[in-house]
Amino acid sequence: MANTFTKIAAVMVGSGGASSIDFTSIPSTYTDLQILISARSDASSGSNAADISIRLNNDSGTNYSYRGLTGTGSTSGSFSLSGETQFTYIAFAGSSNVTSNTFGNSSVYFPNYAGATNKSLSADVVTENNATLTYMRLNAGLWANTAAINRMTLTIVSANFVQYSTATLYGIKNS
């Protein structure tokens, strides 16, 4: 039986950093997509986590909605956003405030990404920090668009990916 978890593309950010990571021409030949991200940003202000945003198919319409459950090590909470122009807070990178050489990790799963329905996602994201305050988040997202996902653009809110940040896109076939 064929292996069904296949790498489509992978990016490692070079020494100059990068303002975005862009996966283009994603084939429609799989059933599901999963992107795994290990990232750190050059954000120097604010919290220990920098938010990674994902835009699909370069669609900047108000078609993105999502809910999240967040834990910090001492508190928990939930949030919801709708009418967004991208999944702005869907994944985490460590900020420059956290322990050196420590990266945030994110796993984002898109089932039935090439089907005729709106596209849902499931995201599990964490930052790590050798201190009491860190973040984990579970996200549920919906892109109100029936097009097959053919492009995925990752950016960090008001910051850049630093060197050695990685993002790998996998395709999964159910047959």
């Binding site: 809910r67 939930s78 849902s120 499931s122």
Partner: protein, 168 residues
Amino acid sequence: MPSTYEPIATTTASGSSGTVSFTSIPQTYTDLVLVMQVGYTSGSHYAVVRANGDADANANYGNTYVAGDGSSALSGRNGGLSGFYSSFALLGNTTLNFISTMQIFNYTNTTTFKSSLTRANLASSGVEAVVACRRTDTNAITSLEIKATSSAVYASGSIFSLYGIKAA
């Protein structure tokens, strides 16, 4: 490199049934992954995932969940359940936007109870993680039945895919 993540079977609902079954699950993997994109023809419901022909009256599953509804976080624990759940605090609805991924670990061993870890999502309602255990017996899991609660019917286009993962 050996293949380690393989499709076992997939079913797409036609809109006439509230039960999906995977039988004769191969015993050649280490873990199972069940991916569901589910809607119902009417109402809001769960899907109960039962192993090895467990009946409605079987009450040997328990779970603990944490969930967020967009404004607050909640957590709870339950016993006396009749199956693993696709979610517990979060209900699917008539859209096909509810998604759930369930991992069932070490399903072929015959010495331990079987446990699962589930992530469920419906962007319009909430997000949830559930851990669950089947305390019925220590038999290997050879079949799974995914049954909608309250005699609900899966909407046409609901997709259920079962994968196997090999540790070696």
